[in-house]
Every structure is written in C-alpha cells, then in structure tokens.
Symmetry: C2
Subunit: 149 residues, 2 copies
Amino acid sequence: MPDDAPPLPEFDLYSFTPYRLAVAAKRTSEELARKYRERFGISIPEWRVLVHLAHSGKVSVRDIEARVAMEKYEVSRAAKRLREANLIERKENPTDRRLVILTLTPAGRKMMAELLPLAKSHQAALEARLGDAFEQLEAGLEQLLKEPE
Amino acid sequence: MPDDAPPLPEFDLYSFTPYRLAVAAKRTSEELARKYRERFGISIPEWRVLVHLAHSGKVSVRDIEARVAMEKYEVSRAAKRLREANLIERKENPTDRRLVILTLTPAGRKMMAELLPLAKSHQAALEARLGDAFEQLEAGLEQLLKEPE
DNA sequence: GAAGGTTCATAGCATCCGCAATGAAATCGC
DNA sequence: GCGATTTCATTGCGGATGCTATGAACCTTC
C-alpha cells in the first residue's frame, strides 16, 4: 500500500439513505417475522399472500404479484407452501384455465383471525414508540413509494 | 367455504409500516445494486465492506460486523469474494492472531475512487427527488434507528 | 380454424443466506 | 501455569431466493 495513494473521497455510510432504509427495514421486519415464524410458522412472503387473500377473497397469482410487491415466482412458491400447510386452497378458474383461484381454507381464516389483530397492535406499538417521528417517516415513505420506479 | 364464516378484521397492508419500509428499502437498494453489479460486479454486502474499508483503513471482521449492520459470516464471505477479486487484502494481526486485518488493494482503492462519487451523486439525486419529504424521512429513520434493537 | 404471439403459473438451476458447528487463539480463574 | 471459558473467523449444510426456461391456455389475425 504505497503512501502516495491519492486519498479517497469522504463517504459516510451511516448517512446514506439506501443504507439507512435497508437497516431500518430489516430490523422492523425481522422483529415481526420472528413472531410470525415462532407462533404460526409462516414467512414474510407467505404472510403477504395471506393478508392479500384475507382482504380480497379469491385471487390469482398475478393479482397478488401486482399488488403486494412480490415477483410471480415468489407468490407461486409461497402459495405452494401455504397449500401444503392447508392454509389456502387452489382451484382452476373455469373461464380462464391459465389462472388459479386462491382462497383461504377455514384453517387459514382461523389463523388470520388471530394474526391480523396481532399485526394491528404491532403497528400501534410502533406508532406509539416513534411518536411525532412516525408522521414524518410516513410522509417520507409516501413520497418515496408513490413514484413509479 | 361456509358462508357463516366470521368476517376477518380489516387490515390494509399498504399502510403497514414494516411493509412500506421493506418495499421502499428494496426499491432504493436495488436501483443502486444494479449499478454496482453491472459496472463493478459487486453485491451490497461487498459494497458495505468496501465502504467501511475505504473509510477506516485497516479493520477486522469484527469491526465491520459491529458497525455495518452485518453478521460476522456475511462479512467473512463478502471479504472472501473481494479477496478473490483482488480488491482487498487479508493479513494476520500480529498482536492478536485471531484477528484479521483487511485493507483495500490498489485495485480496490481505484475502484472506490470511482464508486464513491457515484454513490454521492446518487444520494444527492435522491434528496433532490424527495424534496421536503427527505428531511421528514430522515427524522423518522433517525428515531427508528437510534433504538437499541 | 390454424399459426404466431402473449399471458399465466410453475420448475430447474445456480447462487445466496442464516444458523449452528468448528477450529484456532487469547483470556480468565484458581 | 494450566485447564476452562470466551472471542474471532470461517465453513457445512439445509433451505430460501432470483433468474430463466418451460409448458399450458388464451388471444389475435388472417
């Protein structure tokens, strides 16, 4: 390492927004993911699919992909696992046989009836913990997320 | 699916903070990661290690772990790949032979000299794009990140 | 109504990731 | 000073992930 190497520009990772966002997201998600996993044995992709199903009733993989920020193959695989766990059911759409129809099973509904209130209280706790900063965070995220890509 | 199933609580994924953060982080990071990968062939963990090295000179795996929100094994593997790419160098610490000393090679310094300004301009563009929302986002993240766990 | 192109879901493959275990070196406790 | 514990870095392994290819069904156009 020669001493005459030109100095590198100063760069502070801790104030680099992509880094900060990644760390914040990881913490926030993992805290929750642990709960999901331990109590219900589901992962985050599976959770997203379930939430969408709880909200929308019957949907195809494509529907979920479009609305839940997941790739098609992620949805497909999550659905497979959920089917194996008997939490969702998969039928063929008779009017377009390329499409599938995913719905919660009774067991899936039961689980979501327990899980959703938990998620709500988690959200409430987060808001309380952040205080005023919560509104600010949301405003920032809003701006960031509303852009197409 | 019996009709007498009790209704599930309403739950809107799009306003669920962990979800929003995850999506925002993914977008922001991937946009950048694509650049890193295409132009320099490095991943995000590798980028973090490099930044820390550019900033701190000689460090051990443990140092990086503590300061860059990575697990030790992530650092270790990233370092291995970087070594294979001849971007960093690994020596033994003579006063404590458990520790390693990682430093940038000349090639690594050269790459960082190109990369860091790019990251800076990326950050500047992000700030400009977000406008006032940037300060708010930062305030929110600050609060979120300052908590221990 | 048949060929060409598109959309949908899934599977194959290689890589990545997280956890736990390993091994080497240092430190502690007596 | 020496065994027990702790710290540090790496690796093995199973499972997850991302990209691409595949195949089935549908739509379009003539």
